[in-house]
């Protein structure tokens, strides 16, 4: 707790010195454009995309943007109702802002359940705060790690004492320049598919097997025993993207159960299409396949493969929360 608050003070100094600037122009526009978190397990964001299409067309016809579809399953389907913005302990957000389109996912670390702490609380709060930070325009498109850091420190300002930990992955598309910026902490991640093959992907960050890097707010006094990585330790990447590229941001529930080939196969089916229904179907399909294989006990999943590499005799899928955000990059 001590170290987090020291950084909190540094952060507030940074803010006071104006490093984070509020953009007021276009805020009203941003409010109207940003799509709210999807209300159901299978959701699309048509209204946000349409409204944005009209305005961006006027500004710059070459400006790239996301067309997104979200799908997923909580690990225990029967345990809780489906709520917007989360699947079980996973959470996500999608915001279309004039400065840049942002997608984020977070995977709550399940180990907290044993200590009486709801693991989904931290990841969900982190994503909701990130969403608010992005919506209010207080972010720089080229620094997605700053969004994560800002949201993380903002959690300390909540009256509720939030505890827990999660991974985080945030991807920002700066449409004017066609640049994609990403920041990743932990084993969630993304991949970019162009012409049937993966051209960019995030690196999984793990301390050791099945223990990813994680942002955490541990109970006070337990700092020494709890794994807590700083937001500054996020892996950042930036690269150019073109119209027609496809991006998938997902939690490890997908990457651990589906090999790349199956993911690419689904994504290629909607390559180049701007039909939101098709996009949604593709996202649903990826999520469903991951779910099916997760509960298949005889399947040699990527998780089982890497377990074996680490000397653990494992077979079968890995039951986990699944979150898929599929995006087409288009004008």
């Amino acid at each position: 707790m001590q170290s987090v608050l020291v950084y909190g003070r540094l952060f507030s100094r940074a803010v006071a010195n104006g490093i984070y600037s509020v953009s007021t122009g276009g805020q009203a526009a941003a409010q109207q454009q940003s799509a709210p978190s999807s209300p159901a397990a299978a959701a699309a964001s048509p209204s946000g995309a349409e409204a944005e299409g009209f305005t961006t067309a006027a500004v710059n016809s070459k400006k790239l943007r996301f067309l997104t579809a979200v799908s997923g399953f909580p690990k225990n389907r029967t345990l809780e109702k489906v709520k917007p913005g989360k699947f079980g302990d996973d959470a996500y957000f999608v915001v279309k802002h004039p400065h840049g389109d942002v997608i984020g996912v977070a995977d709550g670390v399940g180990g907290w359940r044993a200590w009486g702490i709801d693991p989904g609380e931290f990841s969900h709060s982190l994503m909701r705060v990130s969403e608010r930070v992005v919506r209010s325009g207080q972010f720089t498109p080229s620094e997605p790690a700053a969004i994560i850091a800002r949201a993380y420190y903002e959690l300390l300002e909540n009256k509720t004492h939030i505890l827990g930990s999660s991974t985080a992955c945030v991807v920002v598309l700066q449409g004017d320049a066609g640049q994609l910026y990403s920041a990743n902490i932990g084993d969630s991640g993304f991949l970019v598919v162009r012409n049937g093959s993966v051209v960019h992907r995030s690196q999984e960050q793990q301390h050791y097997f099945n223990t990813p890097f994680q942002l955490s707010l541990p109970p006070p006094g337990t700092n020494a025993q709890v794994l807590s990585d700083r937001p500054e330790s996020a892996d950042t990447l930036e690269f150019l993207v073109k119209e027609g590229d496809m991006l998938m941001v997902a939690t490890d529930g997908v990457f651990d159960n589906l090999p790349d080939s199956m993911i690419i196969k689904e994504m290629v089916k909607v390559q180049g299409s701007t039909d939101l229904l098709l996009l949604q179907q593709a996202a649903n399909s990826i999520a469903q396949q991951a779910r099916k294989l997760a509960f298949d006990e005889d399947y040699m999943s990527p998780f089982a493969r890497s377990a074996r590499e680490n000397g653990i005799n494992a077979i079968g899928g890995k039951p986990d929360d699944i979150t898929v955000v599929l995006a087409t990059i288009t004008v």
Partner: protein, 624 residues
């Protein structure tokens, strides 16, 4: 031809100024900037971080040691308020309706002012704080006047003294039309005052115009009747002023400014009553006249100066201008006001200029001139939210007001260490409020070294300070300190608490959102050292445990106000023991404590009826 008239709905585009907010600067939780844009929470009801949350509630902040006593104002023009926020909209419109989306403890909005970029404020609506409302989110749409002026800046004033807990707003909608509504015709049944206003007589400078207007009114046969009724005595003038406020809401630029009266010296003759030189006033003894004039508010007093020579003499007596509370009429204070007052304020002892002069209504030179002329006897000076205050003003204050005992400069963002450093000359300083200013540690240390009489210090929201070091400095130089506010400062640890324990006179300690780390030893020393500690705020101290509460239970029996909101580790049993041992407890805030459920709070409320216990709300639907 002209553009078509249309009605525009607008949400807040930016927050220009505010007096306080619950959240920290730069945060997006519970801050004033959350009022920007469309409502995101309504119709949900609760204490959410994405709303604008006021910093205080109820009367708790006025009863404690650190509370400043408002400067007496015998007849404020409008009841004083606690907080305000200035919100700016993108397009100036003629306002039709203002909607407040209140999402927690509604009923704090008491006044709505409108203006075009701060030039001339129009009172759109004024009302009483509302209590006893249902615990539901609501859209509050007060019946505002629809003035013939473009408005793009609203000032909302709050009075949350009757609220049980924090109030929060989600957003403010301004509905206005781009073209003005049709003027209402002059109604012959109106009172004389309103007719004069409608005909524009009160703004005339020329005697001839006034005479013509008066003759016109006389020809209606009314003037005789009205003149017979009106007696020019202070009490009746007072009634007329009150009638003015009720009828005449239009605050056109010149009509109600105190100082504009200085330009109307030539109208002195109009209101003179026949007979003796000063009416029958010159028959009264001097002391009685002064006594009568003392009952007046500042605006009436200034207007009296222009009635007749006798009253001019008496209404300009400096002994009537010794304690000025201009915060209660902040909308009238301009450069000309200060210039007009400076000739009368040679004995000025207490001045409250908080909230005055925004958007360049008062400038630095005028204020400095005023202090230079009138500041020699000043003891109390309040300048909260005065954005014309800069380093030069502080230089002037420090060099002129040598007897200054109280200085409040909350939210004065233009002042930096050069200015604050000047305050080392204020050796008599006993109460100092530097909330949300940019003072840094070394300058503060310098001030504390010199201000040996310091009793009350407020450093809320000064996140740039290392509060542990400040505590050590206080322990060295300010042994007589009674109250300290370090709300939201970040950085007090057990070391700081140990330092504060060396100040035995401490009674009021606000450490909300400031503490970090395990503080058990520090807290123990603090309560053993400061036997008189009555107010202790430990809000959001996440490391608080039952052991800490045990320290309080055992050693701090005289505790009156305690806030331990936002902790997970505190058990109901520990709180129960605390309630049993602290017999003087009046306020206990256990909100957002995971283990303190509403059942416990209800039980305790019955068992300990003298204590107002806040908290135990059901877990809200959303955290963020």
């Amino acid at each position: 031809m002209g553009k078509t008239q249309c009605v525009v709905d607008q949400y807040v585009k930016e927050v220009a100024d505010f007096s306080s907010q619950y959240g920290s600067d730069g945060s997006i939780s519970y801050v004033a900037n959350n009022i920007i844009g469309k409502p995101t929470l309504y119709p949900e009801y609760g204490d959410f971080s994405s709303a604008y949350c006021l910093q205080t509630y109820g009367k708790w902040w006025t009863k404690c040691e650190s509370a400043t006593v408002p400067i007496e104002d015998p007849r404020p023009l409008l009841p004083p308020t606690v907080d305000f926020i200035d919100v700016r909209y993108e397009f100036p419109v003629y306002p039709i309706r203002v909607d407040f989306y209140e999402t927690y403890h509604p009923g704090s909005v008491v006044r709505v002012w409108g203006s075009l970029e701060g030039q001339g404020w129009i009172l759109l609506w004024s009302g009483e704080p509302q209590t006893g409302l249902k615990s539901m989110a609501r859209i509050f749409s007060p019946p505002i006047r629809q003035p013939n002026h473009l408005v793009n800046l609203l000032r909302i004033e709050f009075d949350q003294q009757y609220q049980k807990y924090y109030s929060a707003l989600d957003s403010i909608l301004l509905v206005g039309s781009t073209h003005t509504a049709s003027k209402s015709f002059v109604n012959s049944g109106d009172s004389l005052t309103s007719q004069i206003i409608k005909l524009g007589l009160h703004t005339s400078m020329c005697e001839e115009n006034i005479l013509t207007g008066v003759q016109f009114l006389m020809s209606e046969g009314k003037l005789q009747k009205f003149l017979a009724e009106e007696l020019i005595q202070p009490e009746d003038l007072l009634r007329e002023e009150k009638a003015d406020i009720m009828n005449v809401r239009v605050n056109e630029e010149h009509s109600t400014a105190i100082a504009e009266d200085t330009q109307q010296e030539d109208i002195v003759e109009v209101a003179e009553v026949e007979g003796t030189n000063g009416g029958y006033f010159d028959l009264l003894p001097e002391e009685l006249i002064i006594y009568v004039l003392r009952q007046l508010d500042i605006r009436s007093l200034c207007r009296l100066v222009h009635t007749c020579k006798l009253l001019q003499k008496y209404a300009s007596e400096p002994c009537l201008y010794m304690r000025l509370n201009l915060k209660n009429c902040w909308w009238l204070v301009k450069n000309s006001t200060l210039k007009c007052l400076s000739s009368k304020c040679s004995l000025l002892q207490a001045l409250d200029l908080s909230w005055c002069g925004p958007y360049n209504a008062v400038d630095t030179e005028t204020f400095m001139e005023f202090i230079h002329t009138c500041g020699r006897q000043l003891i109390t000076l309040r300048l909260n939210n005065c954005h014309f205050i800069d380093n030069y003003c502080l230089y002037m204050i420090a060099n002129v007001c040598l007897n200054l005992e109280e200085l409040s400069m909350a939210n004065c963002s233009k002042v930096d260490n050069l200015g604050f450093g000047e305050l080392k000359k204020a050796w008599a300083l006993s109460r100092l409020d530097l909330s949300r200013t940019r003072i840094d540690f070394h300058t503060l240390q310098l001030l504390l070294q010199h201000a040996g009489q310091l009793r009350h210090l407020s450093l809320s929201n000064c996140t740039q300070l290392d509060m542990d070091e400040v505590a050590l400095t206080l322990a060295t130089f300010s042994r007589g300190l009674i109250s300290l506010s370090a709300w939201k400062t970040r950085g007090i640890t057990t070391r700081g608490l140990r330092a504060l324990a060396c100040i035995p006179t401490l009674q009021d300690l606000d450490l909300g959102w400031a503490l970090s780390g395990a503080i058990t030893e520090g807290l123990g020393e603090l309560v053993r050292g400061c036997k008189g500690l009555r107010r202790l705020y430990l809000t959001a101290l996440r490391t608080l445990t039952d052991n800490d509460l045990h320290q309080l239970t055992t050693h701090a029996g005289q505790l009156t106000w305690l806030d331990i909101m936002g902790t997970r580790n505190v058990t109901p049993e520990a709180v129960h023991r605390l309630l049993q041992s602290c017999q003087n407890l009046e306020l206990l805030d256990v909100g957002f404590c995971e283990q303190i459920h509403s059942t416990f709070v209800h039980e305790w409320a019955l068992q300990f009826p003298k204590v107002s216990i806040k908290g135990g709300l059901r877990h809200q639907v959303r955290i963020v």
